[in-house]
Subunit: 263 residues, 2 copies
């Protein structure tokens, strides 16, 4: 099977034009099938403030109300996504910007209301992700650039977590490709000691993960990432790498910097 | 050759949710290859005002400055484009939203500065439009929905007129398809008498066009549309239809309502 890199960058990279340009240069240079998933960044909040929108919180959780979904559809799906596409095109990388609504690549439903209504947030419909059309794009030498948005199939756009999209796309494409899923974030990897940036754990397998959980060594922020990683590993993805964008893309085909997650 | 409908709707349809929904229902029902190109609408101006942006005019002409290109990239490429895609998906039409930057379907340059600098406005590079990749999308049963934006190949997004995109896409695809180009606007067609909405001219050929020009019967607003139409006809497009969205899509395969432009 051919190699496919599914790479997610967070808002911290999107927000920093120097870091972003450096990342995109390395991404464009990867000589293999590849997909980029990007987070949102702070610019949506800035533009929301300029427009006089007030973020809506319930029990400390941000709610995606009608004004917010329009705002992020503009900013993530328009401004950020198209700026990434234009930048990659300038680096001779034939990028195509997508949300989950485009070509229906990520069918989803609005998250059911339980004790809390998160608003216009999507949960992916399992088994229905558009692997075939993504493969057709890759076969046409296109590089999908996916914004953290999708739709409910009934005309409504929905907000969705970029880590979750990356994990799902990696899984559905693992039948056709040898997929390496890469989460770029602000640290050099998963840290044994949160206070010590050099304490990167090189390998996490299931036993190590359980041990880290038992020892309560993992910060809240990293837990969902590792859960997404193990979900991917359990469903066909070869390996997941978590670390800093600068390190991870340096020697992408034989990378040992960052934290490797394998079953 | 198979039929391909290239259909452009203006901002007036985009701005009117009832008219838009009615249009999209008819568009989704067209049982043939099809591409939708959409204009901007007034919402960009509204959001620009909310953000405190002041439109920039030189000699009465709106200039696309840096703040404006970001604004329209958000609003046309994000909000409007994705809302159209989500709506069409809900009608079982497998829409994919694109700007000219995506998959590099519309290579362009920033308009050269002469007596006036229009700012970030694009002129299409002739002969380089991405016909092949559009054909691949159509062959995969996708329906391209194109926003009035493109890029300069050097990382900069550019504003571009939707009528111009429609004419160019119609031309480049006319080698592979029997193309009918349709301009939807607020009148029932080109009017013999601008004061009389019922004076629709049924057919304009080159002789009739010259006669209308000599008699100075054409309003300023319609002239570029007819020029775009004749540019398309001269370059392989079968016919161009100009009229009201409601009429044009009613019986699209054998339409006689509106103004037909043929060589």
């Amino acid at each position: 099977m051919e190699k496919l890199f599914v790479i997610k960058i967070g808002g911290n990279v999107v927000d920093d034009s120097t870091a972003l340009n450096s990342f995109l240069q390395k991404f464009a240079a990867i000589d293999a099938f590849k997909i980029l998933i990007h987070g949102g960044g702070k610019i949506a909040t800035t533009i929301g403030k300029q427009m006089g929108l007030t973020p809506n919180y319930i029990n400390g959780r941000r709610i995606t109300d009608a004004a917010t979904i329009d705002l992020v559809t503009m900013v993530y799906g328009g401004l950020i996504n198209k700026q990434l596409v234009a930048a990659l095109q300038s680096m001779h990388c034939n990028a195509i910007g997508l949300t989950g609504a485009d070509a229906n690549i990520i069918p989803a439903i609005k998250r059911p209301v339980t004790d809390i209504d998160y608003g216009f947030v999507g949960d992916i419909k399992h088994g229905e992700v558009g692997a075939e059309i993504l493969q057709a794009f890759l076969d046409n030498d296109l590089v999908p650039v996916v914004a953290p948005l999708t739709h409910d199939g009934q005309g409504q756009m929905l907000n969705i977590n970029a880590d979750t999209i990356a994990s799902f796309l990696a899984v559905v494409l693992s039948k056709q490709y040898d997929v390496r899923l890469i989460y770029c974030f602000e640290k050099k990897g998963v840290l044994e000691n949160i206070e010590d940036d050099s304490s990167v754990i090189q390998l996490i397998n299931k036993e190590k993960y359980q041990q880290l959980l038992d020892d309560k060594k993992l910060a809240d922020g990293i837990l969902p990432k590792i859960d997404n990683a193990f979900a991917a590993i359990s469903n066909g993805v070869q390996e997941v790498l978590i670390g800093h964008a600068d390190d991870l893309l340096q020697n992408i085909t034989e990378n040992t910097i960052g934290t490797l997650i394998k079953s």
